[in-house]
């Protein structure tokens, strides 16, 4: 109760500013990683494939570059929650761009009052698919059948775009899947990430230390602004963050009238965008070290 009176409620103007600053900083970080490390998610997932490929061949697991990429993204996720998903992953950033454009088209062109939103129940059900996708890929790799699926992969098509290579021979199935993924991202913010991403499924299974925490006692009664801003439809009033589904976008924290949502490190550093920049710089340095940066 005492805490309740200590915290001030942010005014509408302050909230608007907080949300805008957060959106801008996040977009800037995403842009930097989109240009410099567009293959980071691909390399991290290739690490998982590499482990099961070794098991399939009966050879020891060698610490190759892909497994280092996997170790990096997994360690980051264990320490900071899915910061990688929220700020670094090029495919996620691409999805944010698609969803933003989709919103503009819906509101400006089709004069809709609000951008379409998928019912929460559907989201909760569809989430399970990504675990099946991960299981499917891992089993195919372990059985040595994965090479047969070559080209049937939306990420390969995406990599041809980010590399400015534009070679699509043998990628017909991939292109169809890629278009379907774009449609999904247009309908649902981060739809691919929450419903289909195999790397996201792996992350959701990891124990996470630095996830956002909500100071429930300090909340305004009946306020659900955090929940309304969550792209993943988390039950934030319950134990929403620890189930692994949070993609670490921090939108809820930026929108909270009482600044009631914080990462553990926010207790040390008052200005909440500083830890974001520190985490981004750390990933950039370590990622460059293992060859994920395309410039050096």
């Amino acid at each position: 109760m005492e805490q309740n009176s200590k915290k001030t409620v942010r005014s509408g103007e302050q909230l608007k500013k907080s949300r805008r600053t957060h959106a801008l900083v996040r977009a800037a970080v995403q842009l930097v990683f989109f240009i410099a490390m567009p293959g980071a998610f691909y390399a991290g997932f290739a690490g998982i494939k590499s482990i099961f490929g070794s098991i399939s061949a009966g050879t020891p697991i060698e610490m190759n570059g892909f497994i280092w990429a996997l170790v990096l993204v997994a360690a980051f996720t264990i320490l900071f929650g899915r910061f990688f998903c929220g700020y670094i992953c090029a495919f996620g950033s691409f999805g944010d761009l698609i969803h933003w454009i989709s919103g503009l088209v819906q509101i400006k062109l089709f004069k809709r009052k609000k951008q379409f939103e998928l019912p929460e129940k559907a989201s909760k059900f569809l989430r399970i698919l990504k675990y099946l996708n991960l299981a499917f890929i891992v089993i195919f790799v372990a059985l040595g059948l994965y090479a047969k699926l070559r080209g049937a992969n939306a990420w390969d098509v995406f990599s041809q775009l980010t590399s400015l290579s534009f070679r699509f021979d043998g990628l017909t199935v991939g292109i169809i899947l890629f278009v379907a993924v774009i449609a999904l991202m247009a309908i649902k913010e981060r739809g691919f990430c929450q419903f289909l991403c195999p790397l996201g499924a792996f992350f959701a299974l990891l124990p996470m230390l630095g996830i956002l925490r909500r100071d429930k006692d300090g909340c305004i009664k009946g306020c659900s602004i955090c929940k309304k801003n969550c792209p993943v439809d988390l039950q934030l009033e319950a134990d929403g963050f620890s189930n692994g589904e949070c993609i670490g976008c921090d939108k809820c924290a930026a929108a909270c009238p009482r600044a009631n949502l914080a990462h553990p490190e926010n207790k040390l550093i008052k200005y909440e965008l500083v830890p974001v920049l520190i985490k981004a710089a750390l990933f950039f340095a370590l990622g460059s070290l293992i060859g994920l940066c395309r410039f050096f």
């Binding site: 293959g39 997932f45 290739a46 494939k49 490929g53 098991i55 020891p60 570059g65 264990i78 996470m208």
Partner: protein, 149 residues
């Protein structure tokens, strides 16, 4: 229990990593004895081939000795390789130039060993680095076209 979710995940992670390490240890042992055996067989076969070649004085292989360059499209741009042919066999493949992302290209270089030990360009691409792998393989194919005698 508030942190039950975290504890379960942490235990599963530790167990998974443990199982992978144990597996890797056993696989390494098995793999090294297998490798030694394969090497012994390969040495004997090479010796036999050498003896046969001397007996028949037949041409050593289908390629002329020398160094040949070839290039093919990798992930970002063309990959250029230099192939060395010694005694009619591919003895070395050197990357002359490539612009692909390092993490991927380093993995793709694995196909060079496959090409040399198989003495064939019909080898599998490295999973996760297929564009770069196929670039190297195709560049070797191009280089060997000029080496045919």
């Amino acid at each position: 229990m508030k942190n039950i979710n975290f504890i379960i995940k942490a235990i599963s992670l530790v167990l998974t990593v443990g199982v992978l390490l144990v597996y890797s240890g056993f696989a390494a042992k098995h793999h090294s004895s297998l490798k030694a055996h394969e090497q012994a067989v390969a040495e004997i076969e090479a010796h036999n081939a050498e003896v046969l070649r001397k007996l028949n004085e037949a041409p050593a292989g289908k390629y002329k000795d020398g160094e040949y360059e070839g290039s093919a499209r990798g992930f970002r741009s063309d990959i250029k390789v230099k192939v060395t042919v010694e005694n009619g066999a591919v003895s070395a493949v050197e990357i002359v130039s490539a612009d692909d992302d390092q993490a991927f290209f380093d993995r793709a270089k694995g196909v060079i060993d496959s090409i040399i030990s198989a003495q064939s360009t019909e080898v599998d691409a490295v999973s996760g680095a297929t564009f770069s792998s196929n670039g190297i393989i195709n560049a070797v194919v191009e280089a060997l076209k000029t080496a045919e005698g």
